[in-house]
């Protein structure tokens, strides 16, 4: 033990005695807001060490957890990745089911709106085997009353017509096929002209002379003159208009999403039908007053020769 020089002993004694009395004072003095002075001093002296200790322990624990205690992290990471993949798959499946539910709800609503119209719902079970023709196969056929030349629609608009009906299956020629067509009418001007497929995503509105005023964005509905589709079913929207030699070259974007068909309706009659209009359907707006009602060049059959 280090000895204290004798000449300093009294100094140390003085310090000790004074300190003792200061502590004695601190024990007695009570400050209104903070309690006894000795408590204030003690807390003030101890709290920095406590704070430093807590910070140090926290730092050490973090260091240990983040750098040293990682033996299970790789395995946990793999498990989490697997779990993440499974959850993603589950989310995709749920989204798909939700989309399907939305579609079925729309179909049900459409069916309930047109409850008097004889039609049967069908699920698309396949597409055309070749790229030259645009056809789909339905899971319903003759047993369900489906016959050739029956119209196929969705709540969005015209899809095509049945070209072959088997016992439990039916083949549908899509509106976009080159051999397909439908009698259509411009909503704004009530001009009736045939719309045919081009083999591509867009349709073609035919026989519109260069003098006719047709603008992009105008809506087309079925005219009902082809004896396949009832009138006022949405066909599409004018996408672009170009002048031609005699007739304008007009391309139409189909109202129904023909590239993603999953459920459709087959109209079980070839007679013209008066379908109930959906109030939210923009294409079924009444024609403007004084609009011409030209009925020229209405195809008797939409199918091309």
């Amino acid at each position: 033990m280090v000895g204290i020089p004798s000449r300093h002993k009294s100094l140390f004694l003085l310090g000790g005695v004074v300190l003792l009395q200061v502590l004695l004072l601190a024990v007695q003095i009570k400050r209104d807001s903070q309690g006894r002075l000795i408590r204030v001093w003690t807390v003030g002296a101890v709290s920095p060490f406590e704070r430093a200790g807590a910070h140090g322990i926290s730092h050490i624990r973090d260091t240990w957890n983040h750098y040293f205690a990682l033996q299970n992290t790789s395995r946990e990471n793999e498990e989490l990745k697997r779990e993440n993949g499974a959850l993603k798959l589950q989310i995709t499946q749920l989204q798909s089911k939700a989309n399907e539910a939305d579609r079925l709800a729309a179909l049900l609503k459409f069916r309930q709106t047109n409850v008097d119209v004889p039609m049967v719902s069908a699920r698309v079970i396949g597409g055309s085997a070749d790229s030259a023709s645009l056809t789909i196969y339905l899971d319903r056929g003759e047993r369900d009353g489906i016959r050739r030349n029956m119209g196929v629609i969705t709540p969005d608009g015209v899809v095509g017509k049945v070209i072959e009906s088997y016992k439990d299956t039916a083949q549908v020629l899509l509106l976009t096929d080159k051999a397909s067509g439908v009698g259509a009418m411009l909503v704004s001007s009530r001009v009736q002209k045939p719309v045919g497929g081009t083999g591509e995503a867009l349709l073609s509105l035919k026989y519109i002379s260069n003098e006719e005023d047709v603008n992009p964005g105008e809506h087309l509905v079925t005219s009902g003159t082809d004896r396949i589709f009832p009138p006022d079913l949405p066909v599409g929207t004018i996408a672009d208009v170009k002048p031609g030699n005699t007739f304008k070259q007009i391309r139409v974007r189909p109202a129904a999403n023909l590239e993603r068909l999953e459920e459709v309706f087959v109209l079980l009659t070839m007679k013209p039908l008066e379908m109930k209009k959906d109030s939210a359907e923009p294409n079924s707006a009444p024609p403007p007053a004084g609009a011409p009602s030209s009925a020229s060049t209405n195809p008797a059959s939409p199918e091309k020769p």
């Binding site: 009395q21 007695q28 003095i29 002075l37």
Partner: protein, 177 residues
């Protein structure tokens, strides 16, 4: 045991005095009693600080810093105890501890037997004592104790005068050399 002995520092020869048995205790008790008793009948006597004078005297005479500070501590604590609830234990204790230490240290280096030296030292110690009390009060008690007033100046002079005569009386308690 020798009654007196010399501290030989360099060429200086300073005598360290011994006192009769119980002299320090009796003197301390007498000073404390008188300090508590006198102001009741003579209010102006409150200007005196007899315990301080006792600490100064024995500190200067004994010339041992450890003894001086311990004596100062005891007398100071006793004075605190007698001062009532407004004075916490340790206020005068700290001041008189330091005065006891300083007096003993100075007494070991200077000849403090001359009345003039005793007068001057008493004034100085009184001022230091008051400074320590003011400092302690301000720092620990948060009380605005004045550093110096005219009253304190007069008190220092009065105590110095009393100290000159009191120390002469106390000198008689020393063991004859």
């Amino acid at each position: 045991m020798n009654d007196t002995y010399d501290i030989r520092g360099s060429e200086l020869h300073i005598e360290v005095h011994k006192f009769r048995a119980g002299a320090i205790i009796l003197a301390t008790a007498f000073a404390l009693v008188l300090q508590a008793f006198l102001p009741i009948y003579f209010p102006k006597a409150a200007i005196l600080d007899l315990p301080l004078l006792i600490v100064i005297y024995f500190g200067l005479s004994r010339r041992n810093p450890s003894t001086g500070l311990l004596l100062g501590m005891v007398i100071g604590i006793l004075q605190d105890s007698l001062s009532g609830p407004t004075v916490p234990l340790g206020l005068y204790g700290i001041a008189k501890t330091l005065i006891g230490y300083l007096a003993s240290s100075i007494g070991a280096r200077l000849d403090t037997e001359h009345p003039a030296a005793r007068f001057a030292l008493t004034i100085a110690f009184f001022a230091v004592h008051q400074g320590i009390i003011a400092l302690t009060s301000r720092l620990l008690l948060s009380q605005p104790e004045p550093w110096f007033t005219m009253h304190l100046g007069i008190a220092a002079l009065v105590n110095a005068v009393v100290a000159v005569f009191l120390f002469m009386i106390l000198d008689r308690l020393r063991k004859p050399s």
